[in-house]
């Protein structure tokens, strides 16, 4: 038998052996998974205390931010390599890299959340080119700064004062039912804010460039009365 033939047979056996060994190892990892755990696809990441969240990177995977008593950061296991975090002063900086998708695809996204953040309280969120889903926050004051191609969905939030600063092509959308006493709304460039699902008493808009506001009839009347 030729040396090369012997070598091919040996190599094939080694490849099959390594394949078998890695699949046995994958089985062990599979057995470790708690199938009843809601976050079985996620890995917990530790962080120092913070009250402001600054997220930058890509909008390929949404970032879910939910008010909960326990503070936790969970990163989708397959995206762990794309996650970097650092706490400076009172701000948690998260860099979540990856590929970008169009804003239209962001609206229709059914992609699972790349990061799930549980936090008892937040005073501000700064987003640069990322897609956030903020849910159930009840706080006195909340500042939202959106830059680049950021898209932020705010659902069932209740803040006494809400400061919103939007730049570039960022997009803000209120969903379900949000309540605030006062909104400070500063928009520039071609940013878009959908104020359909928010109840407010006062609004202080500072609008420039070619910004767009989406309003329901009630919100429009409320805005005229201000």
């Amino acid at each position: 038998m030729k040396t090369s033939t012997v070598f091919i047979i040996l190599l094939s056996i080694i490849i099959a052996g390594v394949l078998f060994a890695s699949n046995v190892s994958l089985k062990k990892e599979y057995e470790k998974i708690d199938l009843d755990d809601v976050f079985k696809n996620y890995v917990s990441v530790d962080s120092e205390p913070y009250s402001i969240l600054s997220i930058s990177g890509s909008n390929g995977y949404p970032i879910e931010i939910v008010q909960k008593d326990t503070n936790a950061i969970k990163v989708l296991r397959s995206r762990l390599e794309h996650f970097k975090s650092l706490v400076k002063n009172d701000t948690l900086f998260i860099e979540f890299t990856g590929s970008n998708i169009s804003m239209q695809q962001s609206f229709l996204s059914t992609t699972p959340s790349g990061i799930v953040i549980h936090k008892n309280n937040l005073s501000g969120i700064i987003a640069t080119n990322t897609h956030q889903k903020v849910n159930g926050f009840k706080t006195e004051h909340l500042t939202l700064k959106l830059k680049g191609d950021s898209f932020l969905e705010l659902k069932n939030c209740n803040a006494q004062t809400l400061s919103i600063l939007m730049e570039d092509e960022s997009h803000l959308q209120f969903l379900e039912h949000n309540i605030t006493d006062s909104i400070s709304l500063k928009m520039a460039h071609t940013s878009v804010a959908n104020l359909n699902d928010i109840t407010f008493k006062k609004v202080h808009p500072v609008l420039s460039d070619s910004v767009a506001l989406v309003l329901s009839k009630d919100v429009f009347k409320n805005l005229l009365n201000n």
Partner: protein
């Protein structure tokens, strides 16, 4: 192994084929620019990491053709005889081909890609340093290691098959890839019969469905390190050794 012979072999390869290489380089540049134009024209259909996509497609098309041409002399008996009679060891001929089709090729390919990327960004109006593709971001560099395996297979193809070696080897690679995936899926389903396996990547991970939710299973870090070592280093070297053995047998 004699380094001066190695250097002479590399010079011979470049001198004998420089016209083909220059033409190929121009074709590569045009191909990359064309691919960038396509993704720009239909940008709604090509969202995401388009630069990464173009880089990988260009790398494997150009790299496949180039690596396969390393022992292109075997396509005719006369030139094949001439190559075998070149006064150098088979190992030196193989190493010189590996150096040209990996180190030199990757260097030239990366430069050509960035020239095309520059024109694309200029055309798209988003020319700035941050917009250029960073191959070391998000683990993208692993494609360079996959290229090494591909290079080994293509070199092997150019030694084994005398006629139409490119097509024959590409078909062989496709069959091997399908077989590997089938074997991997079969092994996983035998080892974990209770899991509904959706997809799997050999030596890396698998995805299973649990009550409609897809759950991904990865190797532990330590096992992953050894697997990466095997796939990225040992496997390409083994393929290059096989190329050397096949060339030696041709000499006999």
């Amino acid at each position: 192994m004699n380094y001066s012979t190695l250097s002479l072999l590399i010079k011979r390869q470049c001198k004998e084929h420089y016209k083909t290489y220059v033409t190929g380089l121009l074709v590569l540049l045009i191909l990359l620019i064309f691919m960038f134009l396509v993704v720009h024209q239909w940008k709604d259909s090509f969202s995401g990491a388009v630069q990464n996509g173009v880089f990988v497609i260009g790398l494997f098309i150009a790299g496949g053709v180039f690596s396969n041409a390393m022992f292109g002399e075997f396509s005719s008996p006369q030139s094949g005889m001439w190559l075998l009679s070149v006064p150098a060891k088979a190992s030196e001929k193989v190493v010189s081909s590996i150096v040209i089709s990996t180190v030199f090729f990757l260097l030239v390919y990366v430069i050509t890609f960035y020239i095309a990327d520059f024109f694309y960004l200029l055309f798209a109006g988003s020319l700035n340093f941050e917009s250029f593709l960073n191959p070391f971001e998000n683990g993208f560099y692993q494609f360079f290691f996959i290229y090494l395996i591909f290079n080994g297979l293509m070199l092997l193809g150019s030694v084994i098959f005398n006629k139409n070696s490119l097509i024959k080897m590409l078909l062989t690679i496709a069959v091997l890839f399908i077989l590997l995936n089938y074997l991997n899926g079969l092994l996983l389903s035998l080892l974990i019969p209770e899991a509904t396996i959706v997809s799997s990547i050999a030596f890396d991970s698998f995805l299973f469905s649990h009550h409609g939710e897809n759950v991904k299973v990865f190797l532990s870090d330590s096992i992953n390190f050894y697997n990466a070592l095997f796939v990225r280093i040992i496997l390409p070297i083994a393929l290059w050794v096989l190329v050397w053995l096949k060339l030696k047998e041709k000499e006999i």
